[in-house]
Symmetry: C2
């Protein structure tokens, strides 16, 4: 699940582009990616003026797009940014 060189289908490209088009998700990605350690869901919630339900929704979008990895431990969830996927996306864009 962490290939060095991700291969993106046309559908994935579209999912990623949509995921990046929302400012809140962009902010979430920045927060998740700011340090290499997995970000706890609760920590993120403290920094975003949004309900838990909405946060959960956005996280699912980011995960579906492949932009983050989610690990669940008991009650808690943590997220890491998938830089390889982001890189594959920017690669695709520059090849236009």
């Amino acid at each position: 699940m962490s290939a060095k060189r991700a291969r993106l289908s046309e559908g994935q490209i579209h999912l990623i582009a949509k995921a990046l088009a929302d400012p809140r998700r962009m902010e979430l990605l920045r927060q998740i990616g700011c340090c290499p350690k997995p970000k706890q869901c609760a920590d993120i919630k403290d920094c975003q003026p949004v309900s838990a339900a909405t946060l959960s929704h956005h996280m699912k979008e980011l995960e579906t797009a492949g932009l983050i990895n989610v690990t669940r431990e008991g009650k808690f969830a943590s997220y890491t940014l998938r830089r390889d996927v982001l890189k594959a996306y920017t690669n695709h864009l520059t090849k236009i």
Copy 2:
């Protein structure tokens, strides 16, 4: 209007991301960027199964985002891809 290194505001980032999130606009960008010569509006219309009104709408979105340059000669309009802006956007993404 053709700076080598474009500086993108937060608002521009958002406009670009939204512009790229629509598959039709993505296709338009590909078509415009496929060869260095400016693409005529009529030529593009021939390749896209969409009304002139819708095409005009998408072109305006792309122009507002800064992703294309538009030149008008008489009745006709032509478009060129702004690779510098696209590059600035991908740069921004990888710096997340």
